[in-house]
């Protein structure tokens, strides 16, 4: 027991010292040590870093516009090179990475601080003792070829490098990128997608793309996660689509909708109409709430029931003093503007005003307590 205490006494300060010496940039992060380090107490001499935790440790807050336009990759230049260095059109690629998982597609390891490039981690010499990560040449080429051979199928050196004995400084496409002439064309989003399925009851699965992007306000990458160039640039696109399994096809929807119990949400014998809040709930959000995202009201994620049509839940209590009726498009006349809200609006959703409290013979909306104005 004594020895254990002694050990503890000795190791504790060491531990504390070690803890104190953590790089300041690390402290800003809510990181667990063992995410990157394989040993208990990493030291400067013995970092014991795990292989790059792709996706987990990326802190680049730069937009493609802020990034360098063209980078000449010449870290490995030597006399005997067969090829000239590549002029890498960084900005174009940064923009394109937006279709996929962003900067981390290439900058797969970037601790807080500056944006680091391949040569900061990958050794330039191929003959080395640490072979857990590729050398610099391998890292560059792996990064490029992973996508490039997917969508072009080409692996020739000349598609990126100019030959050393040619007059060309670089490959033509790189020159164009330098002038900023290359951008990825806008991707046209479909409004509605109709799938013919083999399902007996409900042959047609309707996917209303418009609803998801416009009405529900989802961003592309909410569904299109981790897209590779290959998704669109595959040589045999039809084959790649047909090779997806039933589970693959349902997986995207299953992120939000439970596909096991909600078949009829998409599957039907005819094309389903788009989402209509009023048809589903009776509350016409298009009237006054069209600009709100779903989660402004449906605060509990993925739970869309249980909201009462009670305006005061969000808006607080309206009184004749704090509510300018004109926003509804109806300018109350003088007599009516002095009345309490409840005189006409007896329901909590302020939907159907009644005139019966004062007027026996008047009915809304035939008779109006003021004049309509433009909103």
């Amino acid at each position: 027991m004594k020895t254990k205490i002694l050990l503890l006494i000795i190791t504790l300060p060491l531990l504390l010292i070690a803890q104190n010496k953590i790089d300041p940039s690390h402290q800003n992060q809510a990181l667990k040590c063992n995410m990157c380090h394989s040993c208990e107490i990493p030291t400067k001499e013995k970092l014991c870093l795990k292989p790059c935790p792709r996706d987990k440790m990326v802190t680049i807050e730069q937009t493609p516009g802020e990034s360098p336009n063209v980078i000449t990759i010449d870290h490995l230049r030597s006399q005997t090179d067969l090829y000239k260095p590549v002029k890498f059109s960084h900005r174009v690629h940064a923009e394109m990475s937006g279709f996929g998982s962003g900067c981390k597609m290439c900058h797969h390891y970037n601790p807080p601080g500056k944006v680091i490039g391949c040569s900061d981690c990958h050794e330039a010499s191929r003959k080395r003792t640490d072979i857990s990560k590729p050398d610099l040449k391998g890292a560059y080429h792996q990064q490029c070829m992973n996508c490039h051979r997917q969508w072009s199928g080409k692996v020739e050196c000349e598609s990126c490098h100019a030959l050393n004995n040619s007059k060309q400084a670089s490959v033509a496409v790189q020159e164009k990128a330098k002038q900023g002439n290359i951008v990825h064309p806008k991707i046209a989003a479909p409004e509605i997608v109709k799938y013919d399925t083999p399902k007996a009851n409900g042959k047609i699965a309707t996917f209303n793309h418009n609803d998801h992007t416009k009405t529900f306000g989802l961003d592309c990458e909410n569904c299109h996660t981790d897209q590779s160039c290959n998704k669109c640039h595959a040589k045999n696109k039809q084959a790649s689509l047909s090779s997806r399994t039933v589970a693959d096809k349902h997986a995207v929807c299953d992120n939000c909708h439970n596909v096991k119990t909600n078949c009829s949400m998409c599957h039907s014998n005819s094309v389903k109409p788009g989402f209509s809040h009023v048809a589903r709930t009776g509350f016409d959000i298009l009237k006054n709430h069209s600009k709100l995202t779903c989660n402004r009201c449906h605060t509990t994620k993925a739970k869309f029931s249980g909201l009462k049509a009670d305006c005061s839940l969000c808006h607080g209590t309206w009184t004749k003093e704090n509510f300018k009726h004109a926003v509804t498009g109806l300018q109350l006349d003088e007599i009516h503007s002095d009345l309490d809200c409840t005189e006409c609006h007896q329901e909590k959703n302020f939907a159907k005003p009644t005139c019966k409290n004062c007027h026996e013979d008047k009915v809304y909306p035939k008779d109006k307590p003021g004049k309509m104005i433009k909103k």
């Binding site: 072979i131 792996q142 051979r149 997917q150 790649s240 090779s243």
Partner: protein, 301 residues
């Protein structure tokens, strides 16, 4: 039985050598054919290989084999046939379709695997093959008699013979760039590979790296390193996204290829006891029969 293979053989040959001839070339070469802990190897990650075939060019250039210019290696039509290394190309890259067609084709580089317990070393009649300290299995032109037993023995069918040569035909196979590594360089194919799909390093480190890769990317790799255990382990190791047997790798067990035959061999020749015993036995029978005959003729007379 299989355990006392090489050591025993060395002992035996030393014994025979000193007993009869006084010297034996194999006994002298003892430090060879012993596995070093620091032996080198190469990890081939077939999921990284792009099939650019630059390794084929580099190999031929490094071994003074006739080759076309490097640009001609962009020709991918060669992949329509499965090719094998031969006397004119010590390594070749083949292409296989992936399981799902939207994925990329799988390219597999083929060359000598440099076994830890090589069948060729065990089989060669004159000991022209040897496993060097750095892991390479190399062939000695000064010894070879061209019997081609190495080709029969090799579980990977790698050694190739120059059938067209009438004089001094060679056995050709990857020599792990023994001349380059001796002068501190790394093998030509591992140097030129643009994507470093072939990583040169200590075999132990390579296995560790490979296991880490499998652990980190379980969807990318099948959980197996070809060459870790096959025929007792090989210096060249492979990672793949598809079962190796579907990529034309031979289906092999974990026992070293020369195990059974060496066991039989050493059983028959354990310190020459069985042959000498048989000799004594036959001599005894002969002597008894002779005496019997003698007695018979004596009594007849």
């Amino acid at each position: 039985m299989a355990k006392h293979s090489r050591r025993d053989f060395l002992k035996t040959s030393a014994l025979i050598g000193s007993a009869t001839l006084g010297l034996s070339s194999t006994a002298k070469a003892a430090p060879e054919n012993v596995l070093s802990e620091d032996r080198m190897g190469v990890l081939v990650d077939t999921t990284v290989c792009i099939g650019c075939r630059k390794c084929e060019w580099a190999c031929k250039s490094a071994h003074d084999l006739p080759t076309a210019s490097i640009e001609t290696y962009d020709d991918r039509s060669v992949f329509s046939n499965v090719r094998r290394p031969d006397d004119k190309a010590l390594t070749v890259v083949n292409e296989y379709q992936s399981i799902t067609s939207d994925k990329l084709p799988i390219n597999v580089k083929v060359q000598c695997m440099h076994c830890d317990h090589p069948a060729c070393v065990s089989a060669c009649i004159v000991g022209a093959f040897s496993k060097k300290e750095n892991g390479s299995v190399v062939w000695d032109t000064d010894k070879c008699i061209g019997c081609r037993y190495c080709m029969v023995a090799c579980p990977f069918q790698i050694p190739a013979f120059e059938f067209e040569k009438a004089l001094k035909p060679d056995i050709k196979k990857c020599d792990f760039c023994i001349n380059r590594t001796a002068s501190g360089k790394i093998p030509a194919c591992t140097e030129i590979c643009p994507v470093e799909a072939i990583t040169y390093g200590r075999r132990e480190d390579l296995i560790r790296t490979a296991k880490e890769k499998i652990k980190n990317y379980p969807h990318r790799y099948i959980n197996r390193i070809f060459g870790e255990y096959e025929v007792g382990g090989t210096s060249w190791l492979y990672l793949s996204s598809k079962e190796f047997e579907q990529l034309d790798f031979p289906k092999l067990g974990k026992d070293p290829a020369p195990g059974v035959s060496e066991a039989i061999q050493h059983g028959i020749f354990s310190y020459f006891v069985p042959p000498v015993a048989l000799y004594a036995l036959l001599g005894g029978i002969m002597w008894i029969n002779k005496n019997k005959k003698h007695n018979e003729t004596d009594t007849e007379n």
